[in-house]
Structure formats: C-alpha cells, structure tokens
C-alpha cells in the first residue's frame, strides 16, 4: 500500500514538473509568454542590427518565444548566446548559422571621416541606439562607447564617409566595469 | 643575474592526496584489529583480495582511459575503497563476492564517472549495495563473535583461507553450526517474531551496549575517527550530524515505545554506524560541499539509516542511506551556497 502511494506521489511530481517545463517553453498564457520574451531578450546582445532578419532584438525574442525562429540566428551574440538560448528554451544547442552574418575577428565600431561628412543626418536616423551625434548641416560624430557595431549606419551614407574600425578597450575599463575595488589599495 | 619564475604562492603545504589516504588507512587499523579479534582472520584475507582487485581494476581502467598509472595508481584512494568494502562483508564470504564487489566499485562507481574526484556515489557503498541486492543470502551469513558466551568452534587461519577461496567449509564444520546473524539482523528477526526489545536483548549476541563484539569494533572506529578529526583530515560536521540525527531518531522512538524500538546507544554502537560516520559518509567527493550542506547531508544519512534499520528491508541502512543522500547532494549544494563577503544574500 505504501509502495502504491509512493509511486503515485512520485509520478505526479514528475508529471507536474514536465507540465511546468512545457508551459515555460511554450508560453501557455500571455503573462507567461511576456515573461519568457523578457528572459530571452535579456540574453540577446541588444545590437538591434537586424542580421537575424527581424527588426531588432525584441522582435527576434518574440519569434523565438513563439517558436517561429531558431536559436542560431544571432551573430553578435555568437555561440555563447546560442547556447544560452538553447538552455533556456530546451532546444538542442547549435552554432550560429553563417548565412546570418559572420562577425569580424575583433569588435568593430563605426567611425566618421569628419572632413568628408556633409551633415545629411541619414546615419543618425539609422542608428538604433543614438550613438551618433550631429544635426542637419552640422558635423556628425560617433560616440565610440555607445556604438554596438550593428553597421546599420553604413549603407545610408551618401558620400561613404562612415566605416567600421576596430574598437579599443583598455584593461582598466574592463577591470573597472567588473569590480572597482580591484584597482584600489 | 637571471632567475626562474613561478606563480605565487611560493609556499604550499606539502600535503598530497596519497598522504591523506595513508592517514585514513592508519586510522582504520584499530577497527580492523578489533574485527579480527572478534571474528577471526577472514577480514584480513578479504582485505588482501579486495586491495589486489582494486589495484588491478584501477590499473585496467587507467590504461583504458589513457591516464598515468604512476600518478593515479599510487594515490591510495582505491585501497581505501577496498578496505571499506571488505569491512562490510562477512569474514567467510566466498572470494568471488569481494572480488566482484570491488571490481564494480572501482570500474563503474569510480572510473565510469570520471575517476578520482568525480564519483557521484560512494564507490564502496555502491559495491556493497550491488552485492547485497544480488546475493542477499551470502551477505547476511556472519560469524558469531569470539566471546565465551558464544564459544563455538573457530576456524584457524588456514581453514579460513580455504573456505574463502573455495567456498566450501572444512569437513568438520557445517554452515548452520558456525554462522549467525549480526545483532542488527537478529534484532529485526526477533522483533518481527513478536518479542519485545528486552526479550530480544536477552540473547547472548547482545553485549552491554550494542551487539557483542560490534560495540568494541564501533569503539575502535570511534577512536580512529577522533584521530582523523584531530589531524584535520575530516571536519566535525558530518560525523556529528550523522551520529546526532541517528541518536535523536532513536531517542524519540525509544521514548515512545521502549519495547519496540532500540535506544540510541544501541544504534550508535551497532553495525556500521561509526564506520559510516567517520569513514564512509566523510568521503569528500560524494558529500555536500559547504559546511551547512554537510550538516544537512549527514543528518539525512542518520535519519535514513534509522528508518531503514527500523522499518526498511535490510538490517543495516548505512549503505543505502549514504547512496540516497549522495543523490540529494546537487540539490543540497544548490541551496547551501555560503554568503560571500560583502554580499547581502546567498548566491
């Protein structure tokens, strides 16, 4: 008798956890789905570049939650992000598909050749993270710290005065970002 | 002038895994000695067989895994596993019992999981559990202790060796005449037959505290265990929590019905209580990680040991209790990560 009760209890626990897992992966109701989209979006690099064929990171996260996109579509996130997405969504892990783009070997950021810039603001309108400052008929320049390397500003420039250059991150910046006390006495 | 460089720290304690294992083996010697005094030389032969099997199977596994025999064969961990398993087996058990159990422990419980430092379960207990489930009859045929009240014919060293290696007793003996259950086993049987605790304890197989002979073995193990604590090879959390929870469970049930349940002193000095508390549950690889986790882990072992001994299907529950809590270790670890300096909450 006790064996039967124990068996029933164990099977119910197993069944419940399976159900919970299913619900998390499929977003059984709207609130759960919204939470899932948030969790997916948190894993994405927020480059908003559109390489995944969606109009930004949140649309991609939404598609992933609905199951209409695969986990290997984000080159800026790389294999680390693909693996994290696989873990979150319970899908088999895979490498980023090169058809969505191949990242350069070092991180790149946009740079404007200021003498050549004509002040048309087309790149400013294209930048999804407000990393370019400037105004009509005034000099444009890229704020290096804010540029995510999405390259959306390159095509619109009518005079081709904007290009990608390797980013430089100092060791101090890296250490300072993670633990300020590492640099203290 | 130029110098060779090295990374700091430039001094480390000259401690090695093999040194630690050596101290554990020395601490087991009192247990082995008292065991031989009461139950004859069978344990010594079992130990030799176990150690030989352990080293041979370890060498085989290391060779298959392309690891350095010279480094890993000499780390002493296989010998400790072998000794612990031999201590759990009846002294007259046939040779193939200890050999198959040790081989399983080393090949499956240890190397199939990744070798030293990677075993999820306590290898000696896995070996014992496999033997117990597969060959229950052989594992429950113990000898009576060599005390005046139970004087039966004792086998000589040569006769013991022959029995173990051939599985046959010498002509002058029969199995019924020379074997007897362990005190824990006898207690279960007697209680099941309707005797009260006092009536069951009247049998000469029970001594002052626990089972005759067994209480001295447990005492010797306690001494070895205290030595390990003093040398800081093990820490107090696991032995104290296991023995403590075992004693608490026993006290509660004994208080409820002294006629049906054995008291804490009996439980602490019977079976593999001390061996489990100081030598088996303390296997650091399969135990919980943090101090608080170890308290929970060892308390669980104590409770499960009492439960299996009292209501379960086997006379001694230490082996299965340890294996069940080994299963629970990842969960325990997940929720007992200590708070880090400067953080408000636990990770």
């Amino acid at each position: 008798m006790t064996a039967l009760i124990a068996f029933v209890v164990m099977m119910s626990l197993a069944g419940l956890s399976l159900l919970a897992n299913r619900a998390a992966a499929n977003g059984a109701d709207a609130a759960a789905r919204a939470r899932l989209i948030e969790r997916i979006n948190d894993l994405l690099p927020q480059t908003q570049c559109g390489r995944c064929t969606f109009a930004g990171c949140r649309p991609y996260a939404t598609a992933l939650a609905e199951g209409s996109a695969d986990i290997n579509q984000c080159p800026p996130g790389g294999d680390n992000t693909a693996e994290a997405l696989a873990k979150l969504l319970g899908r088999p892990p895979k490498s980023v598909d090169p058809q969505f783009g191949v990242m350069p070997p070092v991180p790149m950021i946009a740079w404007i050749d200021e003498p050549a810039c004509i002040g048309c603001t087309k790149c400013i309108q294209a930048c999804p993270v407000d990393a370019i400052v400037g105004a009509q008929r005034h000099m444009h320049t890229v704020i290096a710290a804010d540029c995510t390397g999405c390259e959306l500003c390159i095509p619109p420039c009518p005079v081709d005065c904007i290009e990608m250059r390797p980013a430089t991150t100092s060791a101090t910046e890296v250490l300072g970002a993670s633990r300020p006390h590492v640099l203290s006495g | 002038m130029r110098f060779p460089t090295a990374a700091p720290p430039h001094v480390v304690v000259p401690q090695t895994v093999s040194k630690v294992m050596r101290i554990v083996i020395y601490a087991l010697l009192p247990t082995i000695a008292v065991h031989v005094v009461f139950f004859g030389p069978g344990l010594l032969i079992q130990s030799i067989l176990a150690i030989a099997t352990a080293l041979a199977t370890e060498a085989l596994a290391l060779h298959l895994r392309k690891k350095s025999l010279q480094q890993y064969l000499t780390d002493g961990t296989a010998i400790v596993t072998a000794l612990l398993l031999a201590l759990c087996l009846p002294p007259l058990a046939p040779w193939w019992l200890v050999v198959s159990g040790t081989a399983f422990a080393i090949l499956v419980a240890k190397h199939a999981f990744g070798g030293v430092g990677m075993n999820v379960f306590n290898p000696a207990m896995v070996g014992y559990a496999v033997l117990l489930v597969s060959f229950p009859a052989q594992l429950l045929t113990w000898l009576p202790p060599d005390v005046p009240e139970l004087r039966t014919e004792q086998l000589s060293f040569l006769q013991t060796a022959t029995t173990i290696l051939t599985g046959q007793l010498p002509d002058a003996f029969t199995w019924d005449a020379i074997t007897s259950p362990t005190p824990l086993d006898a207690l279960r049987t007697n209680l099941a037959m309707g005797m009260t605790m006092q009536e069951a304890h009247a049998s000469p197989i029970f001594g002052g505290f626990g089972g005759r002979g067994w209480e001295w073995i447990n005492l010797a193990t306690l001494i070895g265990g205290i030595a390990l604590l003093a040398l800081r090879i093990i820490r107090w959390q696991i032995p104290v929590a296991m023995l403590g929870s075992l004693a608490v469970c026993a006290s509660i049930m004994y208080a409820i019905d002294p006629g049906a349940y054995a008291g804490p002193v009996f439980h602490l000095t019977s079976g593999a209580s001390m061996l489990g508390a100081f030598f088996i549950a303390t296997d650091p690889v399969s135990a919980a990680t943090s101090d608080r986790g170890r308290l929970i882990y060892a308390s669980g072992i104590g409770v499960l040991t009492y439960t299996i001994r009292t209501w379960g299907g086997y006379p001694d529950g230490v082996a299965f209790a340890v294996l069940l809590m080994n299963l629970a270790v990842p969960l325990i670890d997940r929720y007992t990560v200590p708070r880090i300096y400067g953080h408000a909450k636990r990770p």
Binding site: V174 | V12, S290, G342, H343
Partner: protein, 486 residues
C-alpha cells in the same frame, strides 16, 4: 581572523621576520642610474614633462598625471635625463615599460620649489588633498593606488573613519613594522594630515599582535600629540588580516559591499607607509622619491630594511646586503604568498616595492604534481572572502562564466590561502587569475548591452512620441481647415 563578526578564514603562517628586523633601518646608497617606469601606480601611466638631456634635481616633478586616475612622479636623484624609453620593469613582470632614465651626477641637488607646510590645519581639506596629490603620493601597501583619487572618493563619505593599515600579514615583509617602530611620529603626523584632508572624526591604526614594539612606539607618539581621536588597535596575526576588506571586518565588524568601496560605509583605509610619506611631503616638502624596502631570504647574506631611492636596481640592493648566497633559487618582489617572481634582478625599485625575498629551498615549498580536486573543502575553510574555491575551480575549468559570476570569482582577493592548503596541489590562484579577465570582459559586454538596450528603448519611445505629436498637429490642421470651409 577571529575578531569581529565578519572576519573568518585565513592561515597562521610562520612570519620569518626576525632576521630582517634585528637591525635598524639603513640608508641604501643612491643609484648611479635611476630607471623610473611611468606606470608604477594604478590607473593611467604618468606623462613625462621633461625631455632627454634635461638636468633635474631631487624632488623635481618629471612626469604629470594622465587624464584618468593617475599620479605625479618625481626625480629621486639629481642628474641628467639620458633616456625616455622602454626598460625592463617590475610593473610588467620584467617586460619593457616606458621609463625615464636619469644618470646620477652625484651632487644631490634638491629641488627648491616644494613648500613645507607646518600648519596643515590652515588649509581647506580640498586644498590639502590636491596638495597631497602633487607629492606623487600613492598607496605604499603594494597596489600603488593614487592617493588623491582615493582621498577624493573618501571625502564623499560623511565624517568617515580613517583606518591606517599597519597589519603587515604576509611572511617575510617587515618594512611597515620597522617604520612604525622607528618613525612613529611620521606615521601619526601623516594620520593627522589625512584626517584633516578627509574631515575624519577618528582614526584607528591597526597592526598585528606580533609587533608589540611597534604598537608601543605608536602609542607613545600618539600620547605626545595629545590627539584623543587616534587610537591603536591590535589584531590577531593571521594571514591575510592586512587585506583592506578583511581588516575593516576585523577592526570594525562591518563588511564593505561587494559592489562598493570602503567610503560607502564611511571608512577609508591607507597604509602606514602612505601616511608617513604624506607627512614627509606636507610637513617637510619631500615628495615621494624613496621608500623602505625589506631585503631578506636565505638567498641573501644579510637581511635588513633599507630606505631606498626609487629607480635603484634590485641587484644593487642585494650587493649592499652582502650579495647572494649560493643557495638562492628564486627572486621575489613581495612576500612568499603573493609575491611576484622576477626573472632578473636588473629591474628597478618602484613605489609598490615593499620587499625583496632572495629565496632558497628553505624559503620555498614548491607545488607537487597536480591531482584532480577531491572536494575536501580545505580551501573553503580558509578563504577570507567566504568563497567556495572548489566550485570556482570547477567553473573556471569549464569556463562557465555564469557559474564563476554566481560563486563570486571577482570577490577573490588572490591571497593564496586556498592554494596553500590544497592536498591536490591545484594552482588555484593561477586558475582564478586566468579566468578573471574572461569574466570581466563578459560582464563589461553585458553592461554595454544593457545600456544599449536602454538607449534603443528610449529612442523608440521618443520617435513614437514625435510621430504621435505630428499626427496630432495634422489632425488639428485638418479640423481647422474644415471649420474654415464650413
């Protein structure tokens, strides 16, 4: 560390300080050539303000602070600048670092423009802090963090407590103990200056219980100043009680938040050497051009503490101490627990050089062959940051950055206690040092991603708002037009 509710872990180690503390502090000879790396402090490297061929005097500023956290550098000898070029430097583990090289003209000319301020209380705290910075003062406990930046941060706290760190916990190093024993007035005067610069209410000078003469000397010096706001506190001699966070926990029973600094709990910590250097600069007008260095170890004939000019080659110091013994095997800058092994002695003393150990087999205990972790937990027992090094080891091997973050890799102070006690002889500190930059880069990328997302979302909201306003205006116009028509 058993004092305070928050001090745990640590090791009792043999001090090995008797040899080097037998004789009083000596004066090392000035070097014939001084090599001064420009990056000998934390933060941005200093920028030269002299050129090759210039003649400089002792105490003359030769490099100014760079834009971010940085410090002044002054000439320790008088003579000619012969080069500004990369030279082997302890700041880069004996690889080349841009350095100013001065040839000593032997005339010991002193720079005249430094002012000696007797009454520092007449200065505003902010003035005093800036003045301290101009002396090239950096933390002399080993990290060489620019003191001006530290003081500015400390001044943000309200009525902070000043902690002067004399708890020299690492074996072999005795320069701070000798400083406190022989020059306690410098230390106390420096403490008073720093208190005024910070507007601190009280000051605690902490040291270990194995330096009773130093404690007595400090107490006598404090009594002479009749300053009731400075006191001495003795802590148990446990390594690493001198770690800033561990000392604060030990002395005050409070913990510095992991994502903050001591000023966040109204405490600021400075090394005793820093305090003494501050006194020499403010009171006597002598900027930081020399420091006390312990030379010790079985690999050197005589062990002692010397006051050494910056830029002195270590080979010269060894020669002044009688040269190497034939048993010498390794040369360490620092102590035996955290010291850096130098590949050559032809490198110069910098502001962070507190000790040189010429180590023989007697001083060293090298690691044996590494075994897998057996999860014994010795490491967790001794960790002063309350970490689980066995878990960090597992995650470092797997490069599991989430696991490393969760188990607090960045909270590791690299003291080496875990490494020291490991029976599997695992080089834990090395593994953690390898993993830290990887985790730091990952955390930086994550911070940048979060900031980028905020900018994107704000931009999206702004564009939507502009569009909505545009539509509203159009609607208004259409309505007005319709009204006109009607």
């Amino acid at each position: 560390m058993v004092r305070g509710s928050s001090a745990r872990g640590g090791l009792r180690l043999e001090a090995h300080k008797e040899r080097s503390t037998r004789d009083p502090i000596g004066m090392a000879a000035a070097p014939s050539t001084a090599v001064l790396p420009l990056d000998q402090h934390a933060g941005g490297a200093a920028v030269p303000i002299v050129a090759v061929g210039d003649t400089v005097a002792i105490g003359q500023p030769i490099a100014e602070p760079a834009a971010d956290t940085s410090a002044w550098l002054h000439a320790p000898i008088s003579g000619r600048i012969v080069a500004i070029e990369p030279r082997a430097s302890v700041t880069r583990a004996c690889a080349p670092a841009l350095s100013i090289v001065i040839d000593n003209d032997g005339r010991e000319m002193r720079h005249s423009s430094a002012r000696a301020i007797e009454d520092f209380l007449s200065l505003e705290p902010r003035e005093l802090r800036e003045h301290i910075g101009r002396g090239g003062i950096v933390g002399l406990g080993g990290a060489a963090f620019p003191s001006l930046a530290k003081l500015e941060r400390g001044a943000q706290a309200s009525a902070p407590t000043l902690l002067i760190n004399g708890a020299e916990c690492e074996p072999y190093i005795s320069c701070d103990a000798m400083l406190m024993r022989e020059r306690p007035h410098d230390v106390v005067h420096g403490a008073r200056i720093l208190m005024h610069a910070l507007q601190a209410q009280e000051c605690v000078i902490a040291l270990e219980d194995d330096a009773p003469r130093a404690a007595d000397a400090l107490r006598a010096a404090i009594a002479q100043t009749e300053n009731g706001r400075i006191r001495v506190q003795v802590v148990p001699t446990i390594y690493p009680s001198g770690g800033e966070r561990q000392l604060i926990a030990s002395v005050f029973g409070r913990e510095v938040p992991f994502d903050g600094l001591p000023p966040d709990i109204d405490i600021l910590c400075h090394n005793v050497g820093t305090a003494a250097a501050t006194a020499r600069w403010v009171r006597d007008g002598e900027p930081l051009v020399s420091r006390i260095v312990t030379i010790t170890g079985d690999g050197v004939a005589r062990a002692c503490n010397l006051e050494v000019r910056l830029g002195t080659p270590i080979s010269q110091l060894i020669a002044e101490c009688g040269g190497y013994t034939p048993r010498v095997e390794r040369l360490l800058m620092g102590g035996t627990m955290m010291g850096m092994a130098l590949s050559t002695d032809e490198v110069a003393v910098v502001k962070a050089t507190n000790c040189i150990v010429a180590a023989s087999a007697l001083d060293l205990e090298p690691r044996r062959r590494e075994m897998p972790c057996i999860r014994c937990g010795n490491c967790a027992e001794v960790c002063p940051a309350f970490l689980l090094p066995q878990q960090l080891h597992v995650y470092a091997r797997a490069t599991d950055l989430d696991g490393l973050e969760r188990y607090g890799l960045m909270d590791c102070i690299e003291c080496g206690c875990c490494d020291y006690v490991c029976p599997s002889q695992i080089p834990l500190v090395e593994r953690f040092r390898e993993a830290k930059p990887r985790l730091a880069t990952h955390l930086l990328a994550r911070d940048n991603a979060r900031a980028a997302r905020l900018r994107f979302e704000e931009r999206t909201a702004r564009l939507q708002r502009l569009e909505a306003e545009q539509r509203q205006r159009l609607e208004e116009k259409r309505r007005q037009a319709r009204r006109k028509d009607a």
